[in-house]
């Protein structure tokens, strides 16, 4: 009887004899990014594409991220787990990669914007910061 280790394993995409199967699902997303980028330039309208809602085949997501690459700006957020945010090779196109506290990816999206909304300081947090700073500078006056 054939044993498990006797079964030949062929890894696709490792060499030119076994090229990876291309499912071509990355290209339409690139067109959507281009369209959104034009909208941002002409009308100042921002857009977000939820990459987890797109039916990618094996390798499609990697291909898309490979094409977009990483550009000049990288930001790391530490809030309810890590988030990696980077501007891609195309200014105005940001990759937003959210992780939970256990280090598992919980969301992956592209934001077409001058600065991603989540990077901006939020009014509620600014109000909080004023209170805390006041308390630190005048510890006696705090109620």
């Amino acid at each position: 009887m054939q044993k498990l280790q006797d079964i030949a394993v062929r890894v696709e995409g490792k060499d030119s004899a076994n090229p990876p199967v291309n499912h071509s699902n990355a290209t339409p997303v690139m067109h959507e990014v281009l369209h959104s980028l034009k909208q941002l330039k002409e009308r100042g309208v921002a857009a977000t594409i939820d990459l987890k809602s797109i039916p990618f085949g094996p390798g499609d997501e990697e291909e898309l991220l490979h094409h977009l690459g990483c550009g000049e700006v990288s930001i790391e957020l530490q809030s309810l787990g890590k988030s990696r945010i980077c501007e891609t090779l195309y200014p105005g196109v940001w990759l937003i990669d959210h992780y939970n506290a256990a280090g598992e990816r919980v969301a992956l999206s592209l934001e077409i914007n001058r600065v991603p909304e989540i990077v901006k300081s939020q009014p509620e947090d600014i109000s909080d910061a004023i209170i805390r700073l006041e308390q630190q500078l005048n510890p006696d006056s705090s109620a």
């Binding site: 499912h23 699902n25 594409i49 939820d50 309810l80 256990a102 598992e104 919980v106 989540i118």
Partner: protein, 368 residues
């Protein structure tokens, strides 16, 4: 336990802020929630506004004729922080597989939750209800039918989780020895949401609960009572292998060249064209894969009577390659073929259901 059963007055926004989560963290939570509920990212500000004011609903989970696969699925949700946050803000007051309390204390917890949250709690049901003999399935000596009727009476809504609760599922498969029926066969005066699947996708279960937590209402449903955001499109329409179907490239056996190249599994019995579910995008096991990506056709587990719908490896209809060639000139041909194939499938399915076909070993090795 008693402390947890007190009515919760704090909103989600308040309690997150108190536990040291910044507004930016809250916005991240909202983005993840939007993605989980399959809502467009443009909805995030609306979700933030609603979640900020959301109050923690009480949830009572009832398990009837089931295999606990639905609970296994739920507890293996792949985004624990988000789920934990949601469960910190949903009061899961009764779930006899998960709760610590047992016996009289467990039943007291259920009664207390029903009393404290009269008219506002959610009942989640997995498993079908046997009507042939109430003794076939009981909890604390109470029949499934009685406990369901009693618990649902004061509920805001019922979520039928899994194909057994939604449509009768496996217990109802021919010859249905227990006289199993679905939740919606019994509950007529409350909104029932069907989250079908065997098991259902974990994020779909939490997505529906998150929708109720966020908006205080139930999501829009299809004709079978399933949330449209998750069940609005067929597996076939969202399948990454769909381009192969449109080109007429099919795997004929599980080990031929087409199978290795990842071509369409239609001829190997894939039920994708008649199955509505979110597997193609939500995927399984931390987004690792899903049946079609693993090289096996869809079984149609989120559809009524999937168990009696003919052999899993019987291609319900073989698309004619000439039709494909002719239709390729028509705009939207793929959709038209899909619809026609779906109609054929339904008639074949009805025929198979009445004749109750069985699968033989030859079917597994079948060549069209």
């Amino acid at each position: 336990m008693a402390e947890e059963l007190k009515p919760i007055t704090k909103t989600l926004g308040e309690s997150l802020r108190e536990s040291g989560v910044s507004r930016r963290g809250f916005l991240k939570f909202c983005s993840v929630t939007a993605s989980m509920m399959a809502l467009p990212p443009a909805m995030v500000p609306a979700i933030a506004a609603s979640l900020d004011k959301a109050k923690r609903p009480s949830v009572i989970w009832l398990s009837f004729q089931e295999c606990t696969g639905c609970t296994e699925s739920l507890t293996r949700s792949h985004s624990p922080t988000v789920e934990n946050l949601i469960f910190d803000h949903i009061s899961l007051d009764y779930h006899h597989t998960l709760q610590v309390a047992s016996g009289d204390a467990a039943e007291a917890a259920r009664e207390a939750a029903m009393h404290e949250n009269e008219g506002n709690y959610i009942v989640v049901v997995d498993g079908s209800i046997p009507l042939a003999n109430p003794g076939f399935s009981t909890i604390a000596g109470i029949s499934n039918l009685q406990i369901l009727e009693e618990t649902v009476a004061g509920a805001a809504a019922v979520v039928a989780v899994g194909t057994c609760a939604a449509f009768g599922g496996l217990p109802q498969a021919k010859p249905n020895p227990t006289g199993a029926v679905s939740v919606s066969d019994i509950v007529k005066d409350k909104p029932v949401v069907n989250v079908s699947g065997c098991p259902p996708i974990p994020t779909v279960i939490t997505g529906v609960l998150a929708h109720f937590l966020t908006f205080g209402s139930l999501p829009e449903l299809d004709s079978l009572g399933r949330p449209k955001v998750f069940f609005g499109k067929s597996i076939h329409d969202r399948c990454y292998r769909r381009p192969f179907y449109d080109k007429g490239l099919f795997a004929e056996t599980f080990d031929d060249e087409g199978a290795r190249k990842g071509w369409c599994l239609y001829r190997l019995g894939c039920k994708g064209p008649m199955t509505y579910n979110a597997c193609a995008t939500a995927k399984w096991n931390q987004g690792a894969s899903w049946p079609v990506e693993s090289g096996h056709g869809c079984l149609g587990c989120s559809e009524p009577n999937f168990w009696d719908a003919g052999g899993f490896y019987n291609a319900l209809s073989i698309p004619d390659s000439d039709v494909i060639r002719q239709a390729a000139y028509v705009v939207g041909a793929g959709v038209a073929i899909g619809a026609a194939a779906g109609a054929l499938n339904r008639s074949k399915q009805a025929k198979a259901a009445s004749e109750h076909e069985t699968v033989t070993i030859d079917d597994l090795d079948k060549r069209s």
